[in-house]
C-alpha cells in the first residue's frame, strides 16, 4: 500500500468465473434456499409413487384420525388416509396447476405487452384499456367467476378451465411490466436500424425485442407460480377448484376438516404448512432472481 497523499488505490478484483447456479447461490443465499425447496418439491412430485409410504386414496376405517406416529408420520384423516402421502401427492397438483397456469398467463401477458409496446398508438391504447378492465376485477373474484362459468374440463387428469381461471388474472399484470420494459427497448437505435433495413415486424419483435424482455418475463413467471399455488389452494378450499378424490392441499383443508379441529389438528396444520412452504419458496426464489437479474423491476 503506497500512501501517496492525494491519490488512492483502486481495488480491482478479477471476477472469478463460476457456474451461474453456484454464483447465484453465493450471492443470494435466501434465493438458493428457496430454489432448494422447489427442487425438493419437484422431486417429491415426480417420485411420489415411490416416496410416499401409503396410497393417498387408500381408505382405512380401522385407523381413522390417528395422531402422528412412526406408522403415519403426519397422522391420518377422517377416512384413515395417510396425511403425509396425501401431501406428497398434493404437490403434483399444486406444481402442475401452478406451473401451467403461470406459463400460460405470463406468456400471453408477455405477448400482449410486447405487441402493445411495439405497435403503440391506437393498438396500445385499446389493449391497455382492455387490460384495465381485467385489472378492475380482484384476482379471486375473476378466478371464481371463470370457474363458476366454465365448469370443469378435465383432459389428462388436469382441469384446464381451472388453469385458465388462475392464469387469466396474471395476464394484465405481466403485460404491464413487460410493456414498460419493451417500451424502453423500442426507442433503441438498433430497432430503428432494423426497421431501416426493412425487416418484418415479426423478425424485429422476435429477434430484437423479445430477448430484451426475457428477464422481466422470467421474474414474473417465478413470482406467479407461488401466487398460483395460493390461488389454487383457495379455490379448492372453497370447493370450486380441484375436487375429490384428487389429493390437493387446499382440498385437504376444506369440507369435513373443519369438524375435526380438536380431535385431529394435524389434518389442518400440515396441509397449510405445505402450502405456505411452497409459496414461500417461490417468493424467495422470485425475489432473489429479481435482485440478481434486474433490481429495477417492480413485481
Amino acid at each position: 500500500m503506497s500512501a501517496v497523499p492525494g491519490t488512492f488505490e483502486i481495488a480491482y478484483k478479477v471476477p472469478r468465473r463460476r457456474h451461474p447456479v453456484l454464483a447465484f447461490a453465493v450471492q443470494q443465499p435466501l434465493g438458493a434456499a428457496g430454489l432448494a425447496i422447489i427442487v425438493l418439491m419437484l422431486a417429491a412430485a415426480a417420485l411420489a409413487k415411490w416416496v410416499s409410504p401409503y396410497d393417498p386414496l387408500a381408505v382405512d376405517y380401522g385407523g381413522i384420525l390417528a395422531p402422528p406416529s412412526w406408522q403415519h408420520v403426519l397422522g391420518t384423516d377422517n377416512f384413515g388416509r395417510d396425511v403425509f402421502s396425501r401431501i406428497i401427492f398434493g404437490s403434483q397438483t399444486a406444481l402442475s396447476v401452478g406451473f401451467l397456469s403461470s406459463l400460460g398467463g405470463c406468456t400471453l401477458g408477455a405477448i400482449i405487452g410486447v405487441a402493445s409496446a411495439y405497435f403503440g398508438g391506437k393498438t396500445d391504447m385499446i389493449v391497455q384499456r382492455f387490460m384495465d378492465v381485467i385489472l378492475a376485477f380482484p384476482i379471486i373474484v375473476l378466478a371464481l367467476a371463470v370457474v363458476g362459468l366454465m365448469g370443469k374440463n378435465v383432459v389428462f387428469g388436469i382441469d384446464w378451465n381451472l388453469i385458465i381461471a388462475i392464469g387469466l388474472p396474471m395476464v394484465p399484470r405481466v403485460a404491464r411490466v413487460v410493456r414498460s420494459s419493451a417500451l424502453a427497448v423500442r426507442e433503441m437505435p438498433y430497432i430503428d436500424a432494423a426497421r431501416t433495413a426493412g425487416f418484418s415486424h415479426a423478425r424485429i419483435i422476435f429477434r430484437h425485442i423479445v430477448p430484451n424482455v426475457v428477464a422481466p418475463y422470467l421474474i414474473m413467471l417465478t413470482a406467479s407460480v407461488g401466487q398460483a399455488i395460493l390461488l389454487e389452494a383457495s379455490l379448492s378450499f372453497l370447493g370450486l377448484g380441484v375436487t375429490e378424490p384428487t389429493p390437493a392441499w387446499g382440498l385437504m383443508l376444506s369440507g369435513s376438516a373443519i369438524d375435526f379441529y380438536q380431535q385431529a389438528p394435524w389434518m389442518i396444520v400440515f396441509p397449510g404448512v405445505a402450502i405456505s412452504l411452497a409459496v414461500f419458496a417461490f417468493n424467495l426464489f422470485g425475489d432473489s432472481l429479481r435482485d440478481w437479474l434486474d433490481p429495477r423491476i417492480k413485481i
Binding site: 379471486i140 366454465m150 407461488g226 395460493l230 379441529y261
Partner: protein, 317 residues
C-alpha cells in the same frame, strides 16, 4: 384539481361499462343454466315445460342485448334486479351483508397499518441486526401463508387454549360493540396479516431509501434530535409508496375476505358471492362483480387523491 377529479370519474365509466359487458357476456355465453341448477340440481324430475316457463319468468328467453339493456337500465335507477335463486332483490341481499364485510375490511386495513408502520420503521432503523431479520422473516411469511389457513389456526388456538368458538350469529357493532369487535378481530387479523406484510416490506425499503437523502444528513448535521429526524423528515416522506401499496393490495384483501368468511362462518359478501357462483345465480354474480370492481376502482382513485394531500408537490391537472 376539480377538473382532474371530474376527468377521472368520467374515465371510470368506460372501464365499468367494459366490466359489465365482460361479465354479462361471459355469464350468458359460457355460464351454466341457472334454471337447470335450481330445479334439477338435486336430481329432481322436472318437466321441460316447467323449465321453459321459469326461463320466461326470469327473462332468460329474451335476446342477450335485451337482457343486458334491461340490466343496465335497471341499475341506472338503482335497481339491480332480483336474485335468481332466492327471488329477493339483489340490492337487499347485498345490503344486509355489506356492513359485516366492510367492517372486517376496514379493521384489517387499520390493523395492517398499525402493524406495518412501526415494524417497517424498526426494520429499517436496525437494518441487518437481529430485529431486522426477525421482522423480515415475519413479513416474508405473510406473503406465503394463506389467509383462510391462518384463520383456521387462529380458531384452533382459541379453541384449544381459551375454549372460544366463533359465534354462529353476527352481532352488529351498534348493538354490542364489545361482542362485535371480539368476533371480528380474528378474521380481520387473518386477512390483515398478508396486508401488513406487504406494507412492512414497502415501509422498510422506502425508509431505507429516504434515509440516504441529503436533507436527512442536513437535519442530522443541524443537530436535530434523531427521533425528530426519523418522524418528521424521514417517515412523512416514506409514506407515499406505502399508501400506494395499501391501495393495490386491496384486491388481495377482498380475495382473502371471500375465503376467510367461510372459515369464520361469517355471512358476508364473500360467502354470498361463493354461493352465487355455486348456484349460477346470474343476476347476483353480475351485480356483485360490478359492485366490487367499482369499489376497487374508487379505492385506487381515492389513493391517487391522497397523494396530493401527502405530497404537496403533486398537482393534478
Amino acid at each position: 384539481m376539480l377538473r382532474y377529479i371530474v376527468h377521472r370519474i368520467l374515465l371510470m365509466i368506460p372501464t365499468l361499462f367494459g366490466v359489465a359487458i365482460l361479465v354479462f357476456g361471459m355469464l350468458r355465453l359460457m355460464g351454466g343454466d341457472p334454471v337447470e341448477v335450481m330445479m334439477r340440481g338435486d336430481g329432481g324430475n322436472v318437466s321441460q315445460a316447467v323449465i321453459e316457463q321459469e326461463r320466461v319468468r326470469l327473462g332468460l328467453d329474451r335476446p342477450i342485448y335485451v337482457q343486458f339493456g334491461k340490466w343496465l337500465g335497471g341499475m341506472a335507477t338503482g335497481d339491480f334486479g332480483v336474485s335468481m335463486w332466492t327471488g329477493k332483490p339483489v340490492s337487499q341481499e347485498i345490503a344486509s351483508r355489506l356492513q359485516l364485510s366492510l367492517q372486517v375490511a376496514v379493521m384489517a386495513t387499520v390493523l395492517a397499518v398499525l402493524i406495518a408502520i412501526p415494524l417497517g420503521t424498526l426494520s429499517a432503523l436496525y437494518k441487518d441486526t437481529w430485529i431486522d431479520q426477525v421482522i423480515r422473516v415475519i413479513s416474508i411469511g405473510g406473503l406465503a401463508v394463506p389467509s383462510f389457513w391462518l384463520g383456521m389456526i387462529i380458531i384452533l388456538v382459541l379453541l384449544s387454549y381459551f375454549h372460544w368458538h366463533p359465534p354462529i350469529t353476527f352481532t352488529p357493532f351498534l348493538e354490542n360493540p364489545r361482542e362485535n369487535l371480539a368476533q371480528l378481530i380474528w378474521p380481520a387479523l387473518a386477512v390483515g396479516y398478508r396486508y401488513s406484510a406487504v406494507a412492512t416490506r414497502m415501509m422498510r425499503s422506502t425508509l431505507l431509501e429516504v434515509l440516504q437523502e441529503d436533507y436527512i444528513r442536513t437535519a442530522r448535521a443541524k443537530g436535530v434530535y434523531e427521533r425528530l429526524v426519523v418522524v418528521r423528515h424521514a417517515l412523512s416522506n416514506a409514506m407515499l409508496p406505502v399508501v400506494t401499496v395499501i391501495g393495490l393490495e386491496f384486491a388481495f384483501l377482498i380475495g382473502g375476505l371471500v375465503v376467510t368468511e367461510q372459515v369464520f362462518n361469517l355471512n358476508g359478501i364473500g360467502k354470498l358471492f361463493v354461493q352465487a357462483v355455486a348456484r349460477s345465480d346470474f343476476t347476483m354474480i353480475q351485480s356483485l362483480v360490478l359492485l366490487i370492481a367499482a369499489f376497487f376502482i374508487l379505492i385506487n382513485f381515492a389513493i391517487d387523491l391522497m397523494y396530493a394531500w401527502l405530497d404537496p408537490r403533486i398537482r393534478y391537472r
